[in-house]
Point group: C2
Chain length 144, copies 2
DNA sequence: CGCGAAATTGAAAACGATTTTCAGAAAAAT
DNA sequence: ATTTTTCTGAAAATCGTTTTCAATTTCGCG
């Protein structure tokens, strides 16, 4: 299903309202498919829509996370980031500690091993996070 | 090598000073082998050493992380946690989202798969974090 | 349509964790 | 012992996030 439709349905069923701000934020968020912090998205929006406030961006990103349009991530730089979910498989991240590049990857075998680890400890897994931190190819090449 | 020795050596080589507060904090930190937030360790220390300030605990935990005595972790509850490193293998965590229980596990096969993923993307891995979130056995049993 | 209840907005204030400041105290060097 | 340097603790500053509140907008209903 279309993301915008999904968002509207979510708003409807929660008794929330469709506003121009929410649609603008959704569109901008989906268009540039990267890992936004609230601040970054706010600044990007501000160039074209200077009236949209920081609080609205923040609240709207939370909404996206609630309805499954976005996932909240934290890569240890002290601010939350949101990335669009397009219904694809769960994925994890490679993060370059030098330039901030973020790559995504999937590794079903790792997922399976996680399940068996959890089972061994009688845990029921809801979700997980896996991040690999290091240097990307170009930063490793330029390394001092 | 003994952790206290290691800490003293680190202080020496950095031109820092050995103080009674630092030694007390180190001892308390190592003794109770769990995942402290700054707040928690501060509160625990305060019962026996009411004169030690929050800022000192915070600064000392950062020092531990710097010299490799502790690792800083973040389990998404909004505060940093520190755990002692005893030179053992790297381990990852199972976190119960209900009661906050934290279990540690090691899974060399996952580590290997991570290496191959990184290699496939020309990344050089410095470190990683893997956390599995869900319900522990007893919380799952009591589930509403 | 247009009214009215209910939700939303943006600016500013509040918040919680972390970090810094600063004057006095303590530790190491001389 | 004296000097220099670092450390401490309390309080203030900072940073990202969240809430408050009055004014505005949306939307169901007549």
């Amino acid at each position: 299903m279309d993301q915008v439709q999904l968002f509207n349905d979510y708003l409807r069923c929660k008794g929330l309202k469709t506003t121009s701000q929410r649609l603008i934020i959704l569109e901008t968020f989906l268009d540039s498919d990267c890992h936004f912090s609230t601040e970054e998205l706010y600044l990007k929006l501000r160039t074209e829509y200077p009236k949209i406030g920081y609080a609205t961006v923040h609240r709207t990103l939370k909404l996206f996370a609630e309805c499954g349009i976005a996932a909240e991530r934290n890569f240890g730089d002290g601010q939350a980031r949101y990335e669009p979910i397009h219904g694809e498989e769960h994925h994890d991240h490679l993060v370059c500690t030098e330039c901030g590049l973020i790559l995504e990857f999937e590794e079903p075998q790792i997922e399976k091993l996680q399940e068996s680890v959890a089972a061994a400890h009688n845990f029921t897994i809801d979700n997980h996070r896996l991040e690999l931190y290091g240097l990307c190819a170009s930063c490793a090449a330029t390394a001092n």
